[in-house]
């Protein structure tokens, strides 16, 4: 069994195509892992029968030579993606019994390419959170230092934990302000948020429509490339989807970094960032320099306004996007004697505190009399942040930053929402600018927790992002496995 789990996605795919292993063996190994690591709480729903039947289907195709790019690869799906006939709750009580009759475009793309579904992965409720603690069904435990019960990060905490714990060969995530990159950093794996518009949002439960973007969480950069190849693509059903063909990312893995200019923004080395992270950030700069990159100090002057702007724009959109959970047509409904009372009880009971907090913030900032001071100003800040990046990309090709200011923290320790929001300080600016970013593990801190470094590319330069990330990955040579991972 363990050899099967040792294979990363690219290796497993090769082994499947060379008929060294079958998808059924691989899928069963992962189903067993899910069972072995169930205490981590990464999965909300396991679809064993479906997994096995899809694996058998894949094995037929592998045999008859019609294998598709992800043929037979067992993956987990963040519960924000609507999956046909499989419960989709967005980790919220308000959708606890919701079974979509439709499949999100991104997951459909994955099934069309032969991937096998293992189940649905926990996340923060409606993807609002940075610790996976807002999930209605309870915390997910980071497989690193598992006895200390560390947070896997969020909101794609279940996805990151499952990949790190080897209970999924890869997973999908969604990233609004860092929800792929931060948990990837916390769990010692690779998490890639593509350019806004690369992956269709159709069928993904909406949190903040102008920011939400799906992406892969994987063990390696190559795995991320293979996953994103399948996930991305233009979709007429999403008006904000980019009508641009993405080249095959697997062709960009070994392009190297020679002559590339890497920007080091001075605003990302502030107080409050942990020493170990600073150390590995500096190491990463050196590694890239050693590989032939030109390191250039740059400035993104409006960075400090990114987080406040984000916490206005995202809640504003969320307050409107979540209005549809009203108990009228689907989801939980609390019976009451009047319509208003039904709304109050349904939404009062159905949403958790963090979601309610953001709905209230969002409602407030859009209210007449406050709109200009908050929402409109935040949009102006967003434009300035975009311009910051545009200016910097005139001088450099990629930007290197830490993924998070700290490594993972113990569950239940960060009670103050503002401290929690600071987790996203390095990931939010790229989200506001719609730029692709990837976090990959480069080392462990003193306590043995993974450290993530983020690379940010210009719009639609996922191919370049992959090649630079691959260089950093090779230099860092991160080959640690979480103590809580399936054996």
């Amino acid at each position: 069994m363990s050899e099967l789990l040792d294979l990363n996605l690219v290796e497993a795919s090769k082994a499947l195509k060379n008929k060294k292993i079958t998808s059924l063996e691989l899928t069963n190994a992962y189903l067993k892992s899910i069972n072995d690591t169930s205490l981590l709480g990464a999965y909300l729903e396991i679809v064993e029968d479906k997994a096995i039947s899809m694996a058998k289907e894949s094995d037929k195709k592998l045999i008859d030579g019609t294998a598709r790019p992800l043929e037979g690869i067992p993956i987990g799906i963040k519960d924000m993606f609507c999956t046909k006939d499989i419960k989709t709750t967005a980790s919220s009580k308000i959708l606890e019994n919701f079974i979509p009759t439709y499949e999100s475009t991104v997951t459909q793309n994955l099934w069309n390419d032969g991937a096998v579904i293992l189940g649905k992965l926990s996340c923060d409720e409606f993807a609002m959170g940075s610790s996976n603690e807002t999930a209605a069904k309870g915390n997910v435990i980071n497989p690193w230092l598992k006895n200390k019960k560390m947070s896997p990060g969020g909101s794609s905490g279940g996805s990151a934990a499952a990949v790190a714990a080897r209970s999924a060969l890869a997973a999908t995530g969604t990233d609004t302000g860092g929800s792929i990159r931060q948990p990837a950093a916390f769990c010692g794996i690779t998490g890639l948020k593509p350019t806004y518009g690369r992956c269709s949002r159709w069928g993904i439960v909406a949190f903040s429509s102008s920011l939400d973007q799906a992406g892969p969480l994987t063990r390696t950069v190559s795995d991320a490339a293979l996953m994103l190849n399948s996930m991305a693509g233009y979709d007429q059903k999403d008006s904000t989807s980019a009508n641009l063909k993405m080249p095959d990312l697997m062709d960009y893995l070994d392009k190297g970094i020679k002559g590339k200019k890497i920007g080091i923004p001075k605003e990302y080395t502030q107080d409050g960032i942990s020493e170990d992270i600073v150390k590995f950030y500096e190491k990463s700069i050196d590694w890239l320099k050693d590989e032939g990159a030109e390191i250039i100090p740059v400035s993104l002057p409006h960075t400090k306004y990114a987080l406040p702007a984000y916490y206005i724009i995202a809640p504003a959109e969320a307050s409107s996007n979540l209005a549809r959970y009203d108990g009228v047509r689907y989801g939980a409904r609390q019976e009451a004697s009047s319509l208003d009372e039904m709304y109050e009880l349904t939404r009062g009971n159905g949403f958790g505190d963090e979601v309610k907090r953001r709905i209230m913030i969002g409602t407030y900032v859009l209210s007449s009399g406050y709109y200009d001071a908050y929402y409109l100003k935040a949009q102006k800040v967003r434009r300035l942040i975009k311009e910051d990046f545009e200016n910097v990309y005139k001088k450099v090709d990629y930007i290197l930053t830490p993924s998070t200011p700290t490594t993972s923290f113990e569950l239940g320790k960060k009670q103050d929402p503002l401290t929690m929001y600071l987790n996203d300080i390095f990931t939010v600016p790229a989200s506001l600018a719609g730029l692709p970013g990837v976090s990959l593990p480069v080392g462990l801190d003193k306590s043995g927790l993974p450290i993530g470094i983020q690379l940010i590319a210009n719009s639609y330069d996922e191919p370049g992002l992959i090649s630079i990330a691959r260089v950093l990955e090779m230099s860092a040579g991160f080959d640690f496995i979480a103590d809580g991972a399936a054996k």
């Binding site: 069928g203 009228v328 689907y330 859009l366 007449s368």
Partner: protein
């Protein structure tokens, strides 16, 4: 009460003087589109409840709106037809409020950047006068669903068939000064919408509805506080509601009160308006740009292309009818009211007597349809048959009087007029010998009156004509009868 008969329409005589109405209209016109504004579901009327509902309309999680380009084109077409500025960039906003028949919890509309800006139209009033009414803007928006409160003692039912159907909201400037002007304005807008095919204008089915903003003031003063009367679905109700609302406001002001800005409903049973919600209860809609949709952008050449495809519109058509067919401007304005009328008219009048055609259409055809409670499209008379009738009158085959008889037979049997004339033997008799026979008969039957006439009682001539016509069963050509009688009675 004061004598109001001399007051101008839109004026109200109060104790303190004459009050003037200030009216602005928001017309909600459903776009004639097969599918909804942001989903592929059918927009047809009258389906079984909740049959025309897509995942998007029901606001299922993760569903996204995609703009229906046909609807955008109709709005641009409408803007061009109303001589309005087309905004090459416009933005969809979310109007947020909770209601059971609003699945998304917001209506997608256009708030700060509508698709069409300012324009103006010429409105024909009943007295033949014209006035110009300004258009403030036109924006695209989704319709809401329908709540049914009378199906169950404690529950409400929801029908989402209308949810997401494309509407244009056409907002006038506060340029309207009387209920009659408001009615004429709606009529004109409806007519233009039908000409260009952007909306079927069917007020009974709710394809066209209006919200009326009404205030009163003394002439020359600033605008007063306005009240909005919601959701009026007939021109008659619009006129009644405005009149009654303005009178209510005058009563309050005359007694030293003030008008509360509020939303009101028109009660068709009492003919009065009543309060729906006050300004304080007004929703804070928290408008913001819909992040699911990109701004609508189009090029000048795209707009130009639509402009070139616009059909001839009522105002220019009216001028042309006066010029080409020599009819009065008043008749022309009636004929251009509906595209169906003018198409029919032109088919008939081409190569025939335009004035005669107009008279017959407006007086006889419209009159008969109204009497039988039929709409124009339900008319039993085709343009071919109607044209034939006009020809039969023009070439003297039948007299005007007989024509009326033929016409009423056409309404009943749908037969062609020549067939009716033949079957009933109604051809006009113009032959001298035929008519002389009749004259001889009348003379011999009325010898004493002939003597009276010959002794100077000239007035009796009409009596003889009448007798001859009667004897001919109306078929004798009156001109010939006149001529021959004069000769005979010399």
């Amino acid at each position: 009460m004061n004598d109001t008969s001399t007051l101008k329409p839109g004026h109200i005589q109060g104790e303190t003087g004459i009050w003037e109405m200030v009216i602005g209209l928001e017309i909600h016109a459903q776009i004639s589109s097969k599918s909804k504004l942001f989903s592929g579901a059918s927009a047809s009327f009258g389906s079984e409840a909740n049959r025309n509902v897509s995942l998007v309309d029901a606001a299922m999680p993760g569903m996204l709106p995609v703009i229906n380009e046909f609807c955008v084109e109709q709005a641009v077409k409408t803007g061009l037809a109303l001589n309005a500025k087309i905004n090459n960039v416009s933005v969809f906003d979310r109007k947020n409020y909770f209601y059971a028949d609003l699945p998304q919890g917001y209506q997608i509309s256009q708030f700060t950047k509508p698709i069409v800006g300012e324009g103006e139209i010429i409105v024909d009033l009943n007295d033949g006068e014209q006035t110009i009414i300004g258009i403030e803007r036109i924006h695209l928006e989704q319709d809401a669903g329908k709540s049914l409160h009378d199906k169950h003692p404690t529950k409400s039912y929801i029908d989402l068939n209308r949810t997401g159907v494309a509407l244009m909201e056409i907002v006038s400037k506060p340029d309207i000064r009387s209920p009659q002007e408001a009615g004429a304005y709606v009529k004109k807008i409806r007519s233009i919408l039908r000409y260009i095919g952007a909306c079927d204008g069917n007020m009974e089915e709710g394809s066209l509805r209006a919200d009326c903003n009404v205030s009163v003031r003394k002439s020359g003063e600033e605008f007063g506080t306005r009240c909005e009367i919601k959701n009026l679905n007939s021109i008659r109700f619009i006129i009644q509601a405005i009149q009654s609302e303005a009178e209510r406001q005058v009563d309050i002001l005359e007694e030293g009160g003030i008008i509360d800005q509020e939303t009101r409903l028109f009660d068709t049973s009492t003919g009065e308006t009543r309060s729906m919600r006050s300004k304080e209860d007004a929703h804070d809609y928290r408008y913001f740009p819909d992040p699911d949709l990109l701004p609508l952008e189009f090029t000048d050449s795209w707009v130009q292309n639509i402009r070139e495809k616009l059909p001839e519109l009522p105002d220019s058509l009216k001028k042309r009818l006066v010029k080409d067919f020599g009819i009065t401007s008043y008749d022309a304005s009636i004929l251009v009211e509906e595209k169906d009328y003018v198409d029919f008219y032109q088919q008939v009048a081409n190569g025939r007597d335009g004035k005669l055609t107009a008279n017959w259409m407006i007086t006889e055809l419209f009159g008969a349809l109204k009497k039988d409670n039929l709409s124009f499209s339900e008319s039993p008379i085709t343009s071919e048959n109607f044209g034939e009738l006009i020809s039969l009158i023009s070439n003297g085959t039948i007299s005007g009087k007989i024509a009326k008889e033929v016409f009423s037979e056409m309404m009943k049997s749908k037969k062609s007029p020549s067939k009716i004339v033949k079957e009933k033997g109604l051809e006009q008799v113009s032959d001298d010998t035929e008519i002389l026979k009749l004259i001889d008969q009348v003379i011999s039957n009325n010898q004493d009156r002939v003597n009276e006439y010959l002794s100077g009682k000239d007035k009796l001539f009409g009596f003889f004509v009448g007798q001859v016509m009667k004897l001919s069963q109306g078929k004798a050509n009156p001109g010939v009868v006149n001529k021959l009688l004069k000769e005979k009675l010399k």
